[in-house]
């Protein structure tokens, strides 16, 4: 079973698009659901942390997988 409900691939996108599109994707999800985001923008690591801090959405994990950044975000 996947540990997320939806996935959004932001590979190749640069600031602020990964955050803006993530916000959009979360908007279509229900509270408690988990979104997996894949990004290549190195700035996204700090940005997703800051996004979670300011929006109340929970950053469950933030890491690197085969050269890409992967985030799991639980919608508040």
């Amino acid at each position: 079973m996947a540990d997320f409900d939806q996935e959004f691939d932001a590979s190749g996108l640069n600031c602020p698009l990964p955050i803006l599109r993530t916000k959009k994707a979360l908007g279509k999800m229900d509270s408690g659901q988990v979104l997996r985001v894949i990004a290549t923008d190195p700035g996204s690591v700090k940005d997703f942390d800051a996004f979670a801090n300011q929006t109340g959405n929970k950053l469950l994990s933030s890491g690197e997988e085969s050269g890409k950044y992967v985030f799991l975000i639980e919608k508040a």
């Binding site: 640069n14 602020p16 290549t40």
Partner: protein, 156 residues
């Protein structure tokens, strides 16, 4: 909701490079839950055109990274501005940087409020039919109505 944070931006520049900061910051702030307004004045009004034709110039801008050194006099030659602009756009697209149009659209979708300076419209005899919709035309006092309550105010 009085605990909503507010961001007020004044956009005064109308070049391709300077079109980015107001729209990047406004759309991001909106995504973070800020109530956001941009007041467009003077050359900033060019950012509201339906058909954007924003240019960038290396003239008077020694900090602009160039792929090769070009003497200032040569930078003033006809066609150079168009060349610089198309190079900048290509560079941005290759790095996954959004277009100004896209960021503007994302800002409006996120309910960022656009206010255009009425005085500038009169001054430059702009036709508001050339501008995008959902823009309010007003003056400085209208800006302060929002900015006076704002947590952050930026002049760009």
């Amino acid at each position: 909701m009085s605990d909503t944070k507010k961001l007020a931006i004044i956009a005064t520049k109308g070049t391709l490079d300077w079109a980015y900061p107001p729209f990047i910051l406004a759309s991001t702030a909106a995504a973070l839950g800020y109530e956001t307004q941009i007041f467009f004045t003077f050359y900033g009004l060019q950012l509201l055109r339906k058909d954007l034709d924003l240019q960038v110039s290396s003239l008077g801008n020694p900090a602009m990274p160039m792929p090769m050194p070009v003497p200032v006099l040569a930078q003033a030659l006809p066609g150079m501005q168009g060349f610089m602009t198309s190079m900048m756009k290509k560079k941005m697209a290759s790095k996954g940087v959004a277009s100004v149009e896209e960021l503007r659209e994302l800002s409006q979708e996120a309910e960022v409020k656009f206010i255009a300076c009425q005085m500038t419209v009169e001054l430059f005899e702009f036709d508001t039919k050339d501008f995008i919709g959902d823009v309010e035309y007003a003056g400085a006092a209208k800006f302060f109505e929002f900015a006076g309550e704002a947590d952050i105010s930026l002049y760009i």
